[in-house]
């Protein structure tokens, strides 16, 4: 209890002051108190409210409503009973506190579970929408690294750049290698693709896939993955894959041991694209790793 020097005193105060006047004092009704409070000097009044002013127990108005123990304030506690009654009240209060804590924690756990199941649903939904060809299950013994193949395969709609002749075919061919799990060849194909069509319509997608691929190669190359994701971010800041790239950068930095950078990226996705699936994944990742 060193940290909170007030606490020991508080507890002591509670025990000492609380013993007798607690019932009368603890449930003074609010209005009476406000009326009293408007009188100027804040000198200590004999703040024991007469029992007649007692108008009822105020329920605790927290998010989880717990009624206070029903104490009949009109019933005077007298004689030798008061000691044992006080003990029982204190025991009940301790129990209520503990139950209240459990309830709060259970509610919170439920809230988190709901968020997680929503996230799983969103993820599943996205996979289905992207069609079977976008689903790359964990590859090369590194299921986690390819978790959630976020890139929907279709290249960005509405980009003004038209595909150059042969570009789409070359991109499809490279992508086909990903599907066939020929990751080394796919890296080569996408690299060649970018050399031939550096400013093409599919260039951001190619960078994205290179980033993904460098994470599933054996051995993985997080630095090259990072460079590709970063390039996508810097050169195509309006590309729809940016949130995914941010999330992936968060993971890459985590792999590289840069927890701080990792957090910054994950925070950025959550902040900038709060309803995007990548933000859900980022939240999940933060929960599990930080």
């Amino acid at each position: 209890m060193r940290v909170l020097p007030i606490k020991p005193a508080s507890f002591a105060g509670f025990l000492l002051l609380g013993v007798l006047p607690v019932i009368a004092q603890d449930f003074v009704d609010v209005e009476a108190e406000r009326r009293a409070a408007t009188q100027p000097p804040l000198e200590e009044s004999s703040s024991v409210a007469p029992a007649t002013s007692y108008t009822g127990i105020q329920p605790y108005s927290g998010s989880t409503t717990v009624a206070q123990p029903p104490i009949e304030a009109t019933t005077p506690i007298t004689g030798t009973d008061s000691g044992s009654l006080m003990l029982r009240v204190q025991q009940l209060e301790a129990d209520v506190r503990q139950l209240n804590g459990l309830l709060e924690e259970a509610t919170q756990a439920l809230r988190l579970l709901e968020a997680q199941s929503l996230e799983r649903y969103v993820d599943l939904d996205r996979r289905l929408a992207a069609g079977s060809d976008a689903v790359v299950e964990g590859g090369a013994g590194s299921a986690d690294a390819v978790m959630a193949p976020i890139a929907s395969e279709a290249p960005t709609a509405g980009r003004e750049v038209d595909a150059q002749e042969g570009e789409e075919a070359a991109y499809r061919a490279a992508y086909e290698l990903v599907r066939e799990r020929e990751f080394d060849d796919a890296v080569e194909a996408f690299t060649e693709f970018l050399a031939n069509f550096p400013f093409g319509r599919y260039a951001p997608n190619a960078h994205y896939w290179l980033g993904e691929l460098y994470l599933v190669l054996d051995p993985p190359d997080p630095e090259l993955a990072r460079q590709n994701f970063k390039l996508l971010l810097d050169q195509y800041p309006a590309d729809p894959k940016v949130p995914d790239a941010l999330y992936k950068l968060g993971r890459v930095q985590f792999i590289k041991g840069n927890r701080q950078r990792s957090r910054e990226y994950l925070d950025e996705v959550i902040r900038e694209y709060p309803s995007h699936a990548a933000a859900q994944l980022a939240r999940q990742f933060l929960l599990e790793n930080f």
């Binding site: 060193r2 940290v3 909170l4 020097p5 007030i6 606490k7 005193a9 508080s10 507890f11 105060g13 509670f14 002051l17 609380g18 006047p21 607690v22 004092q25 603890d26 003074v28 609010v30 108190e33 406000r34 409070a37 408007t38 100027p40 000097p41 804040l42 000198e43 200590e44 703040s47 105020q58 605790y60 108005s61 927290g62 998010s63 206070q68 209060e93 301790a94 209520v96 506190r97 503990q98 209240n100 804590g101 459990l102 709060e104 924690e105 919170q108 701080q260 925070d267 959550i270 902040r271 939240r283 933060l286 930080f290």
Partner: protein
Amino acid sequence: MIARRWSILFVLLLASAARGELQIEINQGVENPTPIAVVPFAWQGVGSAPEDVAQIVDSDLARSGQFSPVSRRDMLSYPTRESELFFRDWRAISAEYVLIGRVSVGSQARIDFQVFDTTRQEAVADGTVTGPVTELRMLAHRVSDSVYETLTGIPGAFATRLLYVSVTRNPDGKDFYRLTLADADGRRPIVLLEGRDPILSPAWSPNGTEVAYVSFETSRPAIYRQNLRTGEREQLTNFKGLNNSPAWSPDGNSMALVLSKDGNPDVYLLNLKSRALTRLTRHFAIDTEPTWMPDGKSLLFTSDRGGRPQIYRYDLRTQKIERVTFEGPYNARARVAQDGRNVALVHQRNGRYHIAVFDLVTDRLTVLTETSLDESPSIAPNGSIVLYATKRGEDSILGAVAVDGGVRFSLPARQGSVQEPAWSPYVTP
């Protein structure tokens, strides 16, 4: 009643208080601090300069951990104007930036300064600060704030002040308490209140002109407010039982505090104008340590209504209470940064008490300190540093850690212990 000797020493009456003075030791900086040369400033006044302004700025930047100032001995020249500046001289000693300036004193003190980027060979900042001659140190800190903001993008918090309680042991073996006000660099300490009875929970008014605290000078704890300019002091509460944890509302009109007059500790709101007292929490558990959200619409407080101390939020409009922290068995003594997002608190992990930051947006808690008996966090007004009290041997000292965990320094007292730090808000110059 035992007669107690109490003295309230006002700002102007005070000559020295070396015993309350803090020293600063930098424990950890960022990995690659930026080299900057702070050239001695030109003095344009009678006699010798009362303060070495460049040295003050130099120390501020070094203390931030983000800069490594170049030693004066390594400087090839001491330019004070742009025309005297040769960039190759500074690149030769690997200074990325050069700060030059001039101090003049008339009816007011005035500091002109410029910062140059030695690679791009151009000025990146220039400015002028003016103020009372007696506040030359504070003006120097304002130069530091400006330079720091230009080069890091984050406002500096050098031109601010600290409030803390220093405790020394008298020869008779009894503790002696001093409520002390000092510049953020620990210099110019002024004792506001001293005596044999404990002083707790110092807090700032939002405009930085008043402080509140708990003193045991009468037979029981009571809350006082004290004006830093006039020295005027007033006792605000005198209830039976606990009177503690004063927390000024952001608009300055009311004060949250903890009273146990109705049986056990609950949070109350005192209107400072009408003196109306409103009870905010009503629970047989202990509700304590209120602190305001910067928008003034809700309060965070510590409560053990869930069996163990955790942080809860009280919404003043709806009067709803919700639990905020869930991680770990103990989270207490919250202080909210000005961004309304980061909350510094005391967090227990493996039986040890650490300072942690809880992010209200992502609900994530990050432990910042490795020491084990940390308490009383207070956040710098720029939100970048958490000041707290911790133990070193028998004494308690102040520690400081950047919110991102990067920079650490400690501020032990020259003598005795120091505890309960409160970092001032920005004060309008």
